[in-house]
Amino acid sequence: MPLSDEEIIARLEELGKRVAEQLLKGIPPYLEIPVRTLKNTIWDEKNKILRLGPAKARREYLDVKSAKKFMQTLLMLSLIIMARREKDYPTIRDLYYMGKHTITYIDVYGRKRQEETWDDQRESNSVIEDIEVATGILREEMGIMHDAKGKIVGNIVVRSKGYLIDCSKMGSGAYAIPPNPDRLEIVKVEADYVLVIEKDAIFERLNEEEFWKRENCLLVTGKGQPDRSTRRMVRRLWEEFGLPVYVLTDADPYGWYIYSVYRSGSISLSYESEKLACPEARFIGVTTSDIKRYNIPRNYIIAATDRDLKRATELMKYPWFKSDAWQYELKLFLKKKEKIEIEALSGHGFKFLSYTYIPEKIEKKLWII
C-alpha cells in the first residue's frame, strides 16, 4: 500500500519537529542521518540485495563542519513539506532553484561576504537522498519528479491518472516510464519474461522488429545506468507478476555493473534496494566467454583499457559478484583483456541477436547470476 500524502507529510514533519524541540529546550540541535557510503553498505546474502548498514552520522548545527549540511537538510525538508501540503510535484531541479538563496553575512575579519545556500544541484540532490534515508520515504513517494528516461514496450496495459495505456500499441515508439511508477496501476500483463536492454539503440532495433511480439516478452531500457523509476518498474513486474527478468548489456565492466544495479541495487542508493532491486535478474550477456563461444570476428573486439581492468578488479571484490560464474567471467576478462559491444553480434548478420543469440541464451539457460 502506497503511503497517503497525510502520512508522508506527518513523517517528514516529524524529522523537523525533533530539531525544533531540541532547539527550544536549549539542546544543541542535530539530525541523525544514516551514512550512505560503501563502508556502510551490507550485502544481504539471503535476499541477494544491497542494504544500508546501521551507521548513522550526527549532523550538528553547532559543528562548523556540519552546520551547512544541517541548514541545507532543514531547508530542503521545508521545501518538500510545502510542496506536499500544496500537492505540487516539483522536480529535483525545481527544488534546487527554490532553495537557492544568497546569504549575506559578516566574516571573522569584519568583511561583508555572500554565500549560496547551495552551489550546485549535487548538493541539493544529496540532501534529498539524506531525507529519504532519514525518513524511510522514497522521493518518488514524496512527489518529487526527475528526468525519467526509462522506456517499456510489449503486451502490458497500465492505468495512469485514469487513462488506460496499452504498451503494445505504441507503433515505432514506446511508453515512457513515469517518475513514480507506484502511481501506475498495472491492469494487464501478457508476457513470459522481461528483457532489460542496456542500450536504447538496441531496444529501438528490437522494437522495430517487433521482437516482443514474436517472443511474447516485455522490452525495457534504462538508457545506460538506469534511473530509479525504471528499476522500480522492473521490480514491480518481477514482484507482482512473477516475470523472470533477463538483462542484456555490453561485454565490459560498466555493462556488468549496470546488470548488478538492476539485480542488487547500487551503492549510493542501497537504502532503497528493497523497493528497486530484482535479486533474481539473470544476465544473458554479453560475456567475455561469448567472444569464443560465438566466434566473434576480430574486427569487433576492442582492447580493454587500464580503467576497464581496474573496474573489473573492483567488481571481483564486491560480494554480489562472488558467484563462480561471475568470478570466472571476470578472471577471463582480466586475462584476455578484450571487450565487445552488443553490436558485435551483428558480425554474424543483423538477425543473429534477435533470432539466435537471445532465444538460445534463454532456452538453453545460458544465463548467469
Partner: protein, 527 residues
C-alpha cells in the same frame, strides 16, 4: 690584527701621526664616498650622544639635523645635540681634535671605542670642505656654555682652535651640540639614515630622538623612563690576554720599581674572576713560580704566560658586569613601539662567554600588526645597542634564523614575523673591518639559537591561543550566518513563528559559543 693594533704599530714604528693615518685610510672607517660618509657621520655623532647620556643615568634627548648647504656640490651640514654630560672646556679641543684622546678606552660595553669615529668625522669634514667642527658644550652645573671651532693639524695630531667663546648658562643646560659641514650625498643616504634612526629608537626606547632632514622628519618619543643598568668597568679575563695587554697591565703598577708584586698577586689584582686559589692552581699547572716578582719577567716569559693563560681551561667564566643589556622589558617596549606589532616577546639570556669575553644575547620576536608577511623572517640586528644595517647575509643571526624550523612554532611562511637580535659584549666578534656582521662564533650562535627558540615557544603559545579564539569566531560566524535559514525552515515545518527559533538560536550561541570564547580570552590575558 685590529685597526687599533695597526694604528698603534704604525705610530710606534713609523712615527706616522694617527691623524695622518686616518686621513690616508678614511675608507676603512666608513668614509669611502659621500653617501657612506654622511651616514657614518650621523652614526658617530648619535652614538657618542647616546653614550654621553645613558651611561651616566641621563634619559637621552637627541636632536639630529641634516641640511643641504650646497646640493650641487654635495655640501651638507650635520648637527647632533644631546643633553649628556658635556665636555669640560679644557678637554674639548682634544676630544674633538686629537685622535686617541678620550675617556672610553676602558673595558666595558659602549657604542664606540674612545671616540675614534667622531674624530674621523671631523677629519673627513675638514678634508672635504675645509670647514672647522663647531661645538657648543656645558657640563652639568656649569655656569657657562662654551663654544669652539676646531680644526685638526693632521701631521702633528693636534687641535687647532679657530675660535673660542663662552656665554652665561642661564638655563642650566648641559650637553653637547656638534655641527659639521662636509661633502655628503643626502639623496643617496636619506633612507639609510632614516632606517638607522628608527632602529636606534627601537633599541633605546628611553630616548627622545628627533631627526630632521630635507623632506624627512622623524620624531620618536620615549616610551619608558627606565634606563638599562649602566655597564661597570671590568678587568680583562685571563682567557683573552695577549702580550701587549700583559705589558700594559704590568706598566700600570705605580711603584713597580720599589715594591713589585708577585706573579700570583698580579693575576689576582689585574684579572677578572681570578682569586688566590685559582691563580695558584694555574701557575702550578703552567709551570711558573707564583712568588716571582713581575719586574723580573722577560719577554720570553710573557710569551709563555700569555700562551698558557689562553690554553688553561679551568678559569671561571668572565663576569657580565661590564655588559649592559637592554633587558626583556625595555626591548619589548622598543620593538612594539617601532614595529607596531600585534605580539612581541623578548628574551635576555644569562651571560655567557667566548674566548674570555663575556657576552649576552637578547632576542625579540614580533608578530603581526604592521609587519608585512615575508618568505623569510625580517631580521633586525644590533650589537652593543648599535643597529647593524649592512652585510646581513654574512651575519650569524641570519644563519640561525634561517635554520629554524618555524613550522614547529605554528608560523607558516610567508609570515608577518620579525626577529630582533642584540649581542652585547666587551668584544663583539665582527666579521671584517666594516663592523656590520657578526662572525659565527659557536658559543654566540648557540645562545642566539636558544634565545630565539625560547621566544618562539612563547610565540607559539600566543598563536595557538589566537587560533582557538579564531575557532570560536569562525564558529560564531558559521552558526549565526545560517540562523535565518534554519529558523525559517523550522517555522515552515512546525507552522510556528520564525522569531521563536531565532531567539532560541541566539540563546544557544550565547551559552554555547560566546561564553566559552570569553573563557579562552581570559586565559590568554592571564598569561
Amino acid at each position: 690584527m685590529t685597526i687599533l693594533d695597526e694604528i698603534l704599530a704604525l705610530e710606534e714604528y713609523k712615527g706616522l701621526s694617527p691623524a695622518e693615518f686616518f686621513y690616508r685610510n678614511r675608507e676603512i672607517a666608513g668614509f669611502s664616498n659621500p653617501t657612506r660618509a654622511l651616514y657614518q657621520t650621523v652614526r658617530e655623532l648619535v652614538e657618542n650622544s647616546l653614550d654621553a647620556t645613558e651611561m651616566f643615568g641621563i634619559l637621552p634627548d637627541i636632536y639630529v639635523e641634516v641640511e643641504e648647504i650646497n646640493p650641487k656640490e654635495n655640501v651638507v651640514s650635520v648637527r647632533v645635540r644631546d643633553n649628556g654630560i658635556g665636555v669640560p672646556p679644557e678637554e674639548a679641543p682634544n676630544v674633538f681634535g686629537r685622535v686617541f684622546y678620550g675617556s672610553k678606552y676602558k673595558l666595558r660595553q659602549s657604542r664606540g671605542i674612545f671616540g675614534l669615529g667622531v674624530k674621523m668625522a671631523v677629519l673627513y669634514a675638514q678634508m672635504t670642505t675645509g670647514k672647522p667642527c663647531e661645538i657648543r658644550t656645558a657640563t652639568p652645573k656649569s655656569d657657562y656654555i662654551y663654544s669652539f671651532k676646531i680644526l685638526i693639524d693632521i701631521s702633528k695630531n693636534k687641535p687647532i682652535i679657530v675660535s673660542k667663546r663662552k656665554e652665561k648658562n642661564t638655563k642650566r643646560w648641559h650637553g653637547t651640540d656638534v655641527r659639521l659641514i662636509l661633502e655628503g650625498n643626502w639623496s643617496g643616504s636619506k633612507n639609510r639614515i632614516a632606517e638607522y634612526i628608527k632602529r636606534t629608537a627601537m633599541i633605546a626606547p628611553y630616548a627622545n630622538i628627533t631627526f630632521r632632514g630635507p623632506g624627512v622628519e622623524l620624531i620618536f618619543k620615549r616610551v619608558t623612563k627606565k634606563l638599562p643598568e649602566p655597564a661597570e668597568t671590568g678587568k680583562p679575563h685571563p682567557k683573552g690576554v695577549d702580550i701587549e695587554l700583559l705589558k700594559q697591565l704590568i706598566s700600570g703598577f705605580k711603584n713597580l720599581k720599589e715594591d713589585p708584586p708577585t706573579l700570583q698577586e698580579f693575576l689576582v689584582t689585574c684579572f677578572d674572576s681570578v682569586g688566590t686559589i685559582t691563580a695558584r692552581r694555574f701557575l702550578e699547572w703552567a709551570g711558573f713560580d707564583p712568588n716571582v716578582r713581575i719586574d723580573k719577567l722577560r719577554i720570553r716569559d710573557l710569551e709563555k704566560l700569555a700562551r698558557r693563560m689562553k690554553e688553561y681551561n679551568e678559569w671561571r667564566r668572565p663576569r657580565a658586569t661590564p655588559l649592559s643589556p637592554l633587558g626583556e622589558d625595555l626591548l619589548m617596549k622598543g620593538v612594539k613601539e617601532i614595529l607596531k606589532a600585534e605580539f612581541v616577546t623578548a628574551v635576555t639570556r644569562k651571560p655567557a662567554s667566548y674566548g674570555g669575553h663575556p657576552f649576552i644575547v637578547e632576542v625579540a620576536l614580533a608578530w603581526g600588526g604592521e609587519i608585512k608577511p615575508m618568505e623569510r623572517p625580517l631580521l633586525l640586528r644590533f650589537a652593543n645597542k648599535i643597529p647593524l644595517l649592512y652585510d646581513e647575509g654574512a651575519d650569524v643571526s641570519r644563519k640561525v634564523v634561517d635554520n629554524i624550523d618555524w613550522n614547529q612554532y605554528k608560523v607558516k611562511m610567508p609570515a608577518p614575523l620579525a626577529v630582533v637580535t642584540h649581542i652585547c659584549s666587551t668584544k663583539v666578534p665582527f666579521k671584517g673591518v666594516g663592523k656590520e656582521a657578526i662572525a659565527d662564533v659557536p658559543e654566540i650562535e648557540k645562545e642566539i639559537e636558544n634565545a630565539i627558540k625560547e621566544a618562539a615557544r612563547r610565540l607559539r603559545r600566543y598563536l595557538s591561543k589566537k587560533e582557538k579564539e579564531m575557532e570560536v569566531k569562525v564558529k560564531y560566524v558559521t552558526i549565526t550566518k545560517y540562523a535565518d535559514e534554519v529558523a525559517r525552515a523550522l517555522a515552515i515545518i512546525t507552522k510556528r513563528d520564525k522569531e521563536i527559533y531565532l531567539k532560541a538560536i541566539e540563546r544557544l550561541v550565547e551559552t554555547r559559543i560566546l561564553k566559552r570564547g570569553a573563557r579562552i580570552k581570559a586565559r590568554v590575558r592571564r598569561r
